[in-house]
């Protein structure tokens, strides 16, 4: 027997889990990981898994993780785009799993891109 509060908790948790199926994803933040051969070889899979771990841990709704192919800058892989609706796309390069918690905490949750990990910072070096 579940109480009303327990039912509501199940609703919320399950919705988090299945909301990527709702057609309207215009509100969702998208994390797109480059997963072509170059990306995978450079270690994109552990990076993607850490994104999912982090999102799971924080029970974030409205965030989807998806994959994309090679965009031609293989030397900068693993590359990750974070697209917050209504904001410009931010591209992170040479992403390592240990960088992921910071990207999620600062950018995905609080809307402040981590400047030092971005492609702009890498190109200025």
């Amino acid at each position: 027997m579940k109480s009303l509060a327990e039912l509501e908790a199940i609703r919320k948790a399950t919705l988090n889990r299945i909301n990527l199926r709702t057609e309207d994803d215009s509100e969702a933040t998208r994390v797109v990981v480059g997963m072509a051969t170059c990306g995978i070889a450079a270690g994109a899979r552990p990076v993607m898994l850490s994104f999912m771990d982090e999102i799971n841990k924080r029970q974030l709704s409205n965030v989807t993780v998806s994959q994309t192919g090679c965009i031609g800058m293989c030397r900068l892989e693993p590359m990750v785009d974070v697209i917050v609706p209504g904001k410009e796309k931010v591209t992170y390069v040479h992403v390592k799993p240990e960088m992921v918690p910071r990207i999620v905490a600062e950018h995905v949750v609080n809307g402040r891109p981590v400047a030092e990990y971005t492609i702009g910072a890498a190109e200025n070096e």
Binding site: T14, R17, I18, L20, M52, Q59, S66, Q67
Partner: protein, 599 residues
């Protein structure tokens, strides 16, 4: 409860299951594990997506990529390309019938078949896992029950249903709220709620899909109904021929009991309600309400005269409220969003939406839910994609064996209960069978009558004997032995059966004949007076002929003929022996010179 980055939804409805979706699910799980993706990608078996023609159907989220006609060997490619590398498999993506467009970026809602639909009863079908109560809860499941039990009085619930304008979706179209009110007003120590899931009309499968795809919606609605009328026990009478529906319903009932959504003292409001499944006895007439209740009681499934209506004296002699599956599927949404929201959709006397099962000579065979008042033309052409192979549309049969056939000239009729009846057919449970120029309307009428003759329970003479006599006349007509006066005999029999049969089955049994007589009388007359079938369908009236001027004597037809009815020497015109000819048409298919014709 983990979050996955991608969900692979595989249709587990009856249509896709029979075209092999169960093996797809196995293969997906196998391949996903082999690529080490099992922590990232989840495979879910859902209910029916509706577009059965394209089955088995697979949708990959978050992209919303719609794959159709997926075979087991395609799974490897979807996993290694789309799921592993994020590259959509273009050549497996659904192709639009009208435009032949194959666009991997197109979302489900942009596809013609779905674009014009408005899904309320089917809202969760193809979206959630029907065997997982949590997913139903996430889609606001059991919120309506909570709202009704904790914030509304029984009268308010009934009032809301009444005001919504919801009418019985099983065919009768009786206002649902009134039924609830009458049962509420009956005084008794015990009342019952029942669900009619004995879907029997040829071609109709919406109730099956709702039970398979969203069983909790029915449980929730029946609990609300139980609260409103004061019943503590419900029965779902479902066809034994629907094994997947029965299984998912049983799982759903167990889960609801476990969560305390069925049972005693629900939400600590003191309201008790439980549900049991009863399997159908396998006869069409058991879908008739009095017969259905006798069958639940364990008696022979035969109708009895009304009154007394079930609202006064139903199951076990107690007041009983019986609604159809699709009717129930609307109830929770009405309670949740209010009567005004529901009543804003549809026409003056038919509110909300209706599910139709498209079948016959139509491109997009499947299940569609549209707002009441949508013209037939839009359903058949915009959603259904028209007749295949460029054939000309002839008629659409609605309402099952109790309905009728409507011709091209009535295609602009907005679909609702009253318009369909005025046009000479009826809503029925929502079967919609499309016929093209190759269908003979006399034969169609005979098919439906044949169904009725088989399914008549035999209790009353008009239905038992009358429909049999009608069928004998139709048999004669299609065999080319029709006589003058046959049409008048059919009409006289039809009127008598309509007026005197015991139950709805008999009262409406002559409808297919009457409606085809009304709109396609010329076809009957051609059969009877000219001994010819205008659609070239009735074999007894067909004659195959070889045009000696066109025949090159290639012998292809003679070799194709299974009855050795074609004779002739090489390079000389051949001849068909009419007496031996089986009228199978294989010679016509084989002839490359168009020398063979039928008339």
């Amino acid at each position: 409860m983990d979050i996955y980055r991608a969900h692979v939804l595989v249709c587990g409805g009856t249509g896709c299951s029979s075209s092999g979706s169960a093996t797809l699910i196995e293969r997906f799980n196998e391949q996903i594990a082999a690529h080490g993706l099992d922590k990232e990608v989840k495979v879910i078996r859902t209910g029916c997506f509706g577009l059965c023609e394209a089955g088995p159907v697979v949708i990959v989220y978050p992209d919303g990529t719609f794959y159709s006609h997926v075979k087991a060997e395609d799974v490897d490619e979807i996993v290694s390309e789309h799921l592993l590398k994020g590259r959509k498999v273009e050549h497996l993506v659904y192709v639009e019938h009208a435009t032949h467009e194959q666009n991997a970026e197109k979302k489900l809602d942009d596809i013609n078949f779905y674009k014009h639909q408005h899904r309320i009863a089917l809202r969760n079908c193809g979206v959630i896992d029907p065997e997982n109560i949590d997913e139903y809860l996430a889609m606001d499941g059991y919120k309506a029950l909570e709202k009704a039990l904790t914030t509304m009085t029984r009268e308010e619930v009934i009032d809301e249903v009444l005001k919504s304008g919801l009418r019985g979706r099983g065919g009768g179209g009786f206002p649902t709220g009134l039924k609830w009110k009458f049962t509420y007003q009956s005084q008794a120590d015990q009342k019952y709620v029942a669900c009619n899931a004995d879907e029997g009309d040829p071609g109709a499968f919406m109730d099956r899909s709702i039970l398979e795809g969203d069983p909790h919606a029915i449980i929730e609605a029946m609990a609300i109904a139980g609260y409103a009328i004061g019943a503590s026990q419900g029965y779902i009478y479902v066809r034994a021929e629907y094994p997947i529906a029965v299984k998912r319903l049983s799982i759903a009932i167990d889960q609801a009991r476990e969560y305390g959504l069925l049972g005693e003292n629900i939400f600590e409001t003191g309201f008790n309600f439980d549900l049991n499944i009863r399997l159908g006895a396998g006869a069409f007439v058991c879908g008739e309400e009095t017969a259905l209740m006798h069958s639940i009681e364990g008696k022979r499934g035969e109708p009895t005269a009304r009154p007394p209506f079930p609202a006064v004296k139903g199951l076990f002699e107690k007041p009983t409220m019986l609604n159809n599956v699709e009717t129930y599927a609307n109830v929770a949404q009405i309670i949740l969003h209010g009567a005004d929201w529901y009543a804003a959709m549809g026409t003056e006397k038919s509110k909300g939406t209706k599910v139709f099962a498209l079948g016959g000579k139509i491109n997009n065979t499947g299940l569609v839910e549209i707002e009441m008042g949508t013209p037939l033309r839009k359903i058949i052409y915009d959603i259904g994609g028209g007749c295949p192979n460029g054939k000309k549309f002839k008629a659409v049969q609605t309402g099952g064996p109790s309905g009728g056939c409507l011709p091209e000239s009535l295609l602009d009729t907005p679909v609702d209960y009253d318009n369909l009846i005025a046009a000479g057919s009826m809503m029925g449970s929502g079967g919609m069978i499309v016929m093209d120029e190759d269908n003979c309307m006399v034969d169609i009428a005979r098919f439906y009558l044949d169904f009725i003759v088989d399914e008549s329970c035999g209790k009353c003479a008009p239905c038992r004997i009358g429909t049999k006599r009608m069928k004998e006349i139709l048999d004669r007509i299609v065999e080319g032995k029709g006589e003058e006066g046959d049409i008048e005999k059919l009409e006289a029999l039809a009127e008598t059966i309509k007026a005197t049969a015991l139950c709805g089955l008999g009262n409406t049994a002559p409808n297919p004949v009457l409606s085809t007589l009304k709109f396609f009388r010329d076809e009957y007359e051609a059969h009877i007076y000219e001994k010819r079938c205008p659609a070239h369908h009735c074999r007894s009236l067909l004659q195959f002929k070889i045009d000696p001027a066109k025949c090159k004597g290639c012998t292809a037809c003679a070799r194709a003929c299974p009855a050795d009815a074609i004779t002739g020497t090489v390079k000389q015109p051949h001849v068909i022996d009419v007496k031996k000819c089986l009228k199978c048409g294989s010679c016509m298919e084989k002839c490359r010179f168009g020398a063979i014709s039928r008339e």
